[in-house]
């Protein structure tokens, strides 16, 4: 039971920061939105990758799948999807506020449900793989989905789908989606915080440490693995649905299934912050996103090199990540202590 001992002050500060940030830095609203998305990425990746030890390189699949499901639902409510996509953007869906938000929330909801179903089916197949085979297998899923989406004309194929147009002004749209990302990230955090305090958290930790032992002890390992991946998929699917609407345009390579950027970022952020910890992914995502934005702004042309160096340093010299390092340095702060008082208890019994 990783009972969270974070002071409530930290939570209050994070909440205040989340609410105040768009008002203080109005020109950075989109970047801060993406920061919340990154935190959600790292948190959801860490459920399976960090806490359960199944390093997935294909979680981006659920992001893209959620985005497409949402797009299709948002359009299908108002018009024929096949006719809309075959117009190749020649037709635009202009809606009023009521219809727009009805479609949006229906889209987000269906994305969540569809992604859970995808995770159950895929998990049944993929989660029998272990170690590097799981990583490569899941990467295969993401890349295959991307190719399939690119050839499926009904959902727009390679030329993509134009999303319904936001009925208000751009600044207002930014703020609305900022709120959506913020709420999603906070919900994800609160959910995993609760999850890790239940038996489920211990069971997936046990699977990480020694799956064969966990099986020999009678733990329902497959059930736990599939549910863990489905929880990841649930939140990733919703985040994909929201992201598709922010971009306003969904296509397979760069927006829906960016396996080489977002798909890798989620792994890197968890490793950087310290995988298998509650706050590690949050810290990792924040540090990573700030470094990324700064290098993109001030080292343009060298940004990928800078990012590569960060990953190499992380993986070669700093595998335990920021929180992992802190835990190693001050184990007593995390309750890893010999209890001397126990001696009297043993003597008396």
């Amino acid at each position: 039971m990783s009972t969270d001992q974070t002071s409530w002050i930290v939570y209050v500060l994070v909440l205040i920061a989340g609410i105040v940030a768009p008002l203080v830095f109005p020109s950075y609203v989109n970047q801060i939105s993406v920061l919340w998305l990154m935190i959600l990425f790292a948190l959801t990746w860490d459920i399976v990758g960090g806490q359960m030890g199944y390093n997935s390189l294909g979680n981006i699949f659920f992001f893209g799948a959620g985005m497409y499901v949402s797009a299709v639902v948002q359009i299908a409510i108002f018009t024929d999807v096949g006719a809309y996509t075959s117009a190749r953007g020649g037709e635009q869906l202009v809606l009023d506020y009521g219809d727009y938000f009805l479609g949006l929330f229906a889209g987000i909801g269906s994305a969540a449900i569809a992604c859970v179903l995808f995770a159950i089916v895929l998990g049944w197949i993929m989660l029998g793989l272990r170690g590097p085979y799981f990583a490569i297998g899941t990467l295969g899923v993401a890349l295959a989905a991307r190719e399939l989406a690119g050839t499926w004309e009904w959902i727009g194929g390679g030329s993509g789908i134009a999303m319904p147009v936001y009925p208000g002004l751009p600044d207002e749209k930014s703020l609305v989606f900022y709120i959506l990302f913020f709420v999603l990230a906070v919900l994800t955090f609160l959910y995993v915080r609760w999850l890790y305090s239940t038996r489920f958290g211990l069971a997936i930790n046990a699977i990480r440490d020694d799956e064969e032992k966990a099986e020999a002890m009678g733990i329902h390992t497959m059930r736990h693995k599939i549910v863990a991946w489905a929880i990841s998929a649930f939140f990733l699917g919703m985040s994909g649905a929201v992201f598709g609407n922010v971009t306003g345009f969904v296509e397979p390579l760069e927006v829906a299934f960016p396996a080489a950027t977002f798909g890798i970022f989620m792994v890197v952020m968890s490793l950087l912050g310290g995988k298998g910890t509650l706050w590690g992914p949050v810290i990792g995502a924040t540090v990573f996103h700030v470094i990324k934005e700064v290098t993109w702004t001030y080292m343009l042309g060298w940004q990928w090199v800078a990012l590569g160096v960060l990953i190499i340093v992380n993986v070669v010299f700093f595998q335990q990540g920021i929180l992992g390092w802190v835990k190693e340095k001050w184990p007593e702060k995390f309750g890893l202590v010999v209890d001397d008082r126990g001696a009297s208890r043993e003597a008396s019994s």
């Binding site: 239940t198 211990l202 069971a203 002890m217 009678g218 059930r223």
Partner: protein, 247 residues
């Protein structure tokens, strides 16, 4: 005395190596049964066959009169037939208390149980068993940071936490220093008498197994060589030859 495990004519080959051929043995309910034999005689293979780690080539294995040779590891474990490993296996990145808590029986675990917390009486039980094996002070340390002998004790405590009917122990005293061995023998006996757990023990330490077991089976070259009480086994010429090498 009832047999709680009945192994009948079990064979298992790995490629050309016949690890077990036509092995039969009975584990009497409530007793301690020993399994000895030289290295490579097929003891661990037999263990693995019983707990469903690999399919067997032929024969039958019954647990509480139920055929289990087609079941898989977690299913058999949930029936109450549990094993410990020769190479000690614990959850290294979790502290001892968590190792204990996750080892509760999963026999009746439903889907919703996954998301429950642990009631405080389980915590008390975990602490009690950690005390039983002498690890109470170290309960908040990561299991991976314990010494090998302590990990072995922790694994034993985890097995007790699971409330098994039968416990299969693969060399419980291997790698434990001689002074700790006496304590361990005492605890194994208490697990048998106080908790009523039937034991099937693979052991190389003759002093330990002869002291502890009610009945002993001896394997050699994948075949059952002899069985009987410790006294009978000690005086069996075939067993002596197998261990010392007959000419």
């Amino acid at each position: 005395m009832n047999s709680i495990i009945e192994v009948r004519d079990v064979s298992k080959a790995f490629g050309g190596v016949q690890a077990n051929s036509n092995i039969s043995l009975n584990v009497a309910e409530g007793k301690i049964t020993g399994l000895i034999g030289p290295n490579g005689s097929g003891k661990t293979t037999l263990f693995n066959s019983i707990v469903g780690y690999h399919p067997i080539d032929g024969g039958s294995i019954k647990f509480e009169n139920r055929e289990i040779s087609k079941l898989r590891v977690p299913q058999i474990a949930r029936l109450g037939l549990l094993r410990t490993f020769q190479q000690t296996r614990i959850y290294g990145e979790m502290d001892c208390v968590k190792n204990m808590l996750i080892s509760v029986p999963h026999r009746k675990a439903t889907f919703n149980d996954m998301f429950k917390r642990y009631p405080s009486d389980l915590m008390e039980r975990a602490n009690h068993l950690l005390e039983f094996v002498g690890l109470y002070e170290k309960r908040n340390l990561l299991a991976g940071d314990l010494s090998f002998g302590q990990q072995k004790l922790l694994e034993f405590a985890m097995a007790l936490m699971n409330e098994p009917t039968v416990l299969l122990l693969d060399e419980p005293t291997a790698g434990i220093n001689p002074t700790l061995i006496n304590g361990l023998i005492d605890r194994l006996r208490r697990a048998n008498t106080e908790f009523g757990i039937t034991l099937l023990v693979i052991e190389h330490n003759m002093r330990v197994i002869m002291n502890m077991a009610d009945n002993i089976y001896c394997l050699a070259h994948g075949e059952m060589l002899a069985s009987g009480t410790p006294d009978e086994i000690q005086n069996n010429q075939a067993v002596i030859d197998a261990y010392l090498g007959a000419h």
